[in-house]
């Protein structure tokens, strides 16, 4: 990690000068109030259950579910207050999907302790019926807020959002998906209706903040990182909404060297992250929360 890249906001510096050196002495009792949440995430794993072959030109020996689990377990030992999330396109890309239709992908994600995932366009590759048939193999929820599944077999089975309680922190997670028309055959997605993700996201986030009283709001997006056209993407979604802390993206298979820090509609900072594809990387975002910053109105320090 490049330390020079970190964005240090004024909050921390202000407190530092305000209280001076004495605060350092009392750090031991302070930790009781501070909360630490670790978010681990993947996207576009595309049925890559085995590591890449050691002979692979680009990713020799990298990836693989069994190694990912080792890493997740190690991180959870360090901080059990962790969520494991996926931003869609779980299916399609190796014979594991062609042979077993996604059964193994969902079973393994359940074993790895995934808490939630959203739906990517390739998750319709065996039709909406194929996705529906695999749901019993997933011990986690598929979340999507902008597909209306009312007239499909998935009616009532896909939640728009889910609230997690981890270590005294309420975390609201919701999902948004890409426009399917033109990308997926209608025969596959059937009567699924796509709605504009921006308006939906604003409604959901309002609910998560005001009704559910979430401390953190995370969006699982399969929109894609950034397009030059008007097509909605993660950066546009970030800039047109408020109260989202983190957008975990997918679809564009973007390998970000580090999470992007961008501004939301209120000028506050939002993190957008994506980790390429095929399970080569695992994204890790650590949130530290306490009761202080709300009072002084300052933002968080972001270190990426």
């Amino acid at each position: 990690m490049k330390r020079r890249d970190f964005i240090q906001k004024t909050a921390a510096a202000g407190i530092f000068t305000g209280i001076g050196g004495t605060a350092l002495l009392s750090s031991s009792f302070a930790s009781a109030e501070a909360k630490h949440i670790t978010i681990l995430h993947t996207n576009d794993v595309h049925s890559h259950i085995d590591p890449f072959p050691t002979s692979d030109d680009s990713y020799p020996g990298q990836g693989g579910v069994a190694k990912r689990y080792t890493l997740i377990k190690n991180i959870k030992k360090e901080n059990p207050n962790a969520l494991v999330l996926d931003a869609g396109d779980i299916f399609q890309g190796t014979p594991y999907f062609n042979f077993y239709g996604g059964e193994l992908e969902f079973k393994l994600m359940s074993k790895l302790g995934y808490d939630a995932a959203t739906i990517g366009n390739h998750d319709f590759d065996n039709g909406i019926g194929g996705l529906h048939a695999q749901l019993p193999n997933a011990k986690f929820n598929l979340l999507n807020a902008n597909y209306d599944f009312s007239n499909t077999v998935l009616d009532g089975q896909i939640k728009p959002y889910q609230v997690f309680h981890k270590g005294g922190v309420k975390i609201g997670v919701f999902g948004v998906g890409i426009q399917l028309q033109g990308l997926v055959s209608k025969k596959m997605y059937k009567e699924t209706v796509y709605h504009d993700p921006v308006n939906i996201s604003q409604d959901i986030v309002k609910k998560l903040k005001e009704t559910e009283k979430c401390d953190l709001v995370i969006c699982l997006s399969h929109l894609g990182y950034s397009y030059e056209s008007d097509k909605i993407d993660d950066l546009k979604l970030a800039s047109q909404t408020k109260n989202i802390d983190l957008i975990i993206g997918g679809h564009s298979h973007t390998f970000l060297e580090k999470p992007t820090v961008t501004k939301n509609a209120e000028g506050k900072e939002v993190l957008v992250n994506q980790v390429g594809w095929a399970g080569i990387m695992l994204g890790r975002i650590d949130f530290y929360l306490d009761h202080a910053n709300k009072v002084n109105g300052k933002g968080a320090s972001i270190l990426v």
């Binding site: 530092f16 990912r68 065996n126 709300k294």
Partner: protein, 258 residues
């Protein structure tokens, strides 16, 4: 140095909140004071979790067995780069599609498929001399595209010929014959050995990707009907290989330039 500074900042923030709010105002909402983000690489050197490996093993073995099943044999290596306007591998794929899907289409509709059009870019690998296995079918067709029969008016069939004359690449065809002049004009264009009747409808089998305008095949958009055969192209090739113990396609005169 910055490293150390940052750690200090973190401690200070916690200290401050701890002192001030520990015993009184618990209604002050939580707020984020610090965020750290990084990308972790799933490195080659990471140990594989044994439980996961054991769980995956039987699934993996079944795929391996299935993939290695010998379905047929080819005495020659077949490459899509071996030929200008038609290639042995492309001819085989187009012929296979016609042979395997026509009975399905006929049974459903009582009609027959007139011609086949695939795209050169859709031939995803060559076939090596020797045994043809299930894996071969996955190599040449890794995608899930399926066979669909499109009913085109004669006028649109001419548009299809025009597309082929301009694309200058060996798109796999069957059931048609197209000869181009030196300057890429259509010299002859026939379907099932006959001139195209502008008032007649023709049934062309292709895949859903091309039907939807893939590879700029926009002429498929103006169609009379479409019939999905619920047959993945990969399975068409698997069934074709199973049916023929030797595959030895050749280049021919179906699409040529004079």
């Amino acid at each position: 140095m910055r490293n150390i500074l940052f750690i200090l900042y973190g401690i200070v923030i916690f200290s401050f909140s701890g002192c001030k709010y520990q015993n009184k105002n618990t209604k002050v909402p939580l707020a984020v004071s610090k965020i750290e983000g990084k990308q972790l690489s799933i490195e080659k050197s990471l140990t594989e979790d044994e439980e996961i490996k054991t769980f995956v093993a039987p699934y993996k073995d079944r795929i391996k067995d299935e993939m290695n099943k010998v379905l047929s044999y080819t005495p020659n290596t077949l490459s899509k780069f071996n030929g200008e306007y038609n290639t042995a591998i492309g001819n085989m794929m187009a012929d296979a599609l016609l042979e395997i899907t026509n009975p399905v289409f006929h049974q459903r509709t009582g009609k027959n498929i007139d011609a086949v059009l695939l795209n050169h870019g859709g031939i995803r690998s060559s076939i090596n001399r020797g045994d043809i296995t299930t894996k071969t079918a996955y190599n040449i067709m890794p995608f899930e595209n399926e066979a669909v029969v499109i009913e085109l008016k004669g006028t649109q069939v001419l548009k299809m010929f025009e597309y082929l004359s301009k694309s200058e690449v060996a798109h796999p065809v069957a059931g048609m014959q197209l000869t181009l002049t030196e300057d890429n004009q259509i010299k002859t264009g026939r379907i099932q050995g006959k001139k195209v009747d502008l008032n007649k409808s023709y049934f062309i089998v292709t895949n859903d990707y091309l039907m939807d305008g893939g590879d700029h095949m926009n002429f498929f958009a103006i169609r009379e009907s479409e019939t999905y055969l619920d047959y993945k192209l990969r399975n068409v090739f698997i069934d074709y290989f199973k049916k023929h113990d030797t595959i030895n396609p050749v280049r021919d005169e179906r699409f040529i330039k004079q």
